[in-house]
Each structure stands twice: as structure tokens, then as C-alpha cells.
């Protein structure tokens, strides 16, 4: 079962543009995490935001969390061709912190 859904499913942009991906989830969370997956490879952790946080930055990444709407967004600024990958949100439910549940992912293509 998958808790989160990313939107859009696919996104194509030019280098230098910003990319925004959204994640909606169903149940209350302990934290929400974003991961990147390059083609044919494992997932790499990008950022973790806790339920009591509203915004977090890491380099060119900006993550926001709105627990009232059960949604999060990932913004990649000044995108590069190397940012081409699939991006997944993953949630840790507040009533079951054993789990790390992934969404369906957004495929980002950045053209040089």
C-alpha cells in the first residue's frame, strides 16, 4: 500500500528553471522525507521534515509541509541536467513509526 501521491507524475523543464513537486498523504505523520532515484539505481535521501516544522532548506532544495492539508512540496531551484531523476516522498505515520511508506513518485526531466 502507498500512502502518498506525488503530483505531477512527470515534469519536463529547461536547465535553470525551478521544479516544484507536490505530495499528498492520507494519515497523520511523524515526519515526511524526500528521496531521489536515478534511473536503475537506489534511492538517495534528500531531506526530512518533522510534523512540527513548516519549511526546510538544503542547498537548492526547499521543502514545505502543511499538516492541515496533509501535503508537502519540494522545490528545486536553478535546476541542472543532473537533477533528472524520479523524486519520491515517504511518510512515517504518527501511529506507526515503524513504517516508511513511499508515494508514487514524480519523474523529472531537465533538458540542457
Amino acid at each position: 500500500s502507498q500512502q502518498g501521491e506525488e503530483d505531477p507524475q512527470a515534469l519536463s523543464i529547461q536547465e535553470g528553471e525551478n521544479a516544484t513537486m507536490n505530495c499528498s498523504y492520507k494519515t497523520s505523520i511523524n515526519n515526511l522525507q524526500w528521496y531521489r532515484q536515478n534511473s536503475g539505481r537506489g534511492l538517495v535521501h534528500l531531506i526530512l521534515i518533522r510534523s512540527n516544522e513548516r519549511e526546510k532548506h538544503s542547498g537548492r532544495l526547499r521543502v514545505t509541509l502543511d499538516t492541515s492539508k496533509k501535503s508537502s512540496s519540494l522545490l528545486i531551484t536553478a535546476s541542472r541536467a543532473a537533477d533528472t531523476a524520479s523524486y519520491f516522498c515517504a511518510t512515517v505515520p504518527i501511529d506507526n513509526t515503524d513504517k516508511l511508506i513511499f508515494g508514487t513518485g514524480t519523474r523529472l526531466q531537465v533538458f540542457p
Partner: protein, 113 residues
């Protein structure tokens, strides 16, 4: 720091044959996950270990799948017998503790023919 190591990277087997995947997590990580990822989808949790104890295996198809984590370190995931629908990438991940960031291996791509 060595990452999560999985083997093999690729495996092609005929249906009804058995197959096993191996995972060596990051040293000191108590939590270990096995996920299955179908093409174009997100990873789906199969089983989670805290040390050597399987604390969540609700998504593991127990009629054909089994897993173990001896001594709370390495883990193996087995499928017997494999079916065509088992073709997927099997990912292993570990974390220092539950609810923290997870580190993933490169995965094993299984093709059942």
C-alpha cells in the same frame, strides 16, 4: 562509511524456481527494510526488522516469500517458487533507528521468465 550492499545486482530465473537476495546494512544500523519496486512505481514495504526481530511483515506474501536477519546484521530475502509477477527491483535499506532517514542499496533487479 560503506553503504548498504546488495547482491546480486541482476537475476534472471525461470518461473517456479527459487531465488534469494542478500543485504548487508550499514554497520550499527538496527533497522533494516526490504522493499519491492515495480516499474514506474514507488517502493512498497515487504518487511522491516529491528535487530533480528521482524516487527512488520504484514505486506510479505508469506506463502512464497521468507526473510531472515541472523544476528541482527545481514539479511536474506527468499522467494520460492517465483512467479512471473515477482519481476521487480528488490531494495534493501537500513537506518539507525525507526523513523529516521533510510540508506538504500542499489537493489536487485529480478526477472522471472
Amino acid at each position: 562509511e560503506a553503504g548498504v550492499v546488495q547482491s546480486p545486482r541482476y537475476k534472471i530465473i525461470e518461473k517456479k524456481q527459487p531465488v534469494a537476495f542478500w543485504c548487508n546494512p550499514i554497520s550499527g544500523h538496527n533497522t533494516l527494510y526490504w522493499y519491492r519496486q515495480n516499474l514506474g512505481q514507488g517502493p512498497e514495504l515487504l518487511i522491516r526488522y529491528e535487530n533480528e526481530e521482524a516487527v512488520d511483515d504484514s505486506q510479505l506474501p508469506k506463502d512464497r516469500f521468507s526473510a531472515e536477519r541472523l544476528k541482527g546484521v545481514d539479511s536474506t530475502l527468499k522467494i520460492q517458487p517465483a512467479e512471473l509477477g515477482d519481476s521487480a527491483v528488490y531494495l534493501c535499506a537500513s537506518s539507525f533507528q525507526a523513523a529516521s532517514r533510510a540508506f538504500f542499496g542499489q537493489g536487485t533487479r529480478l526477472t522471472v521468465v
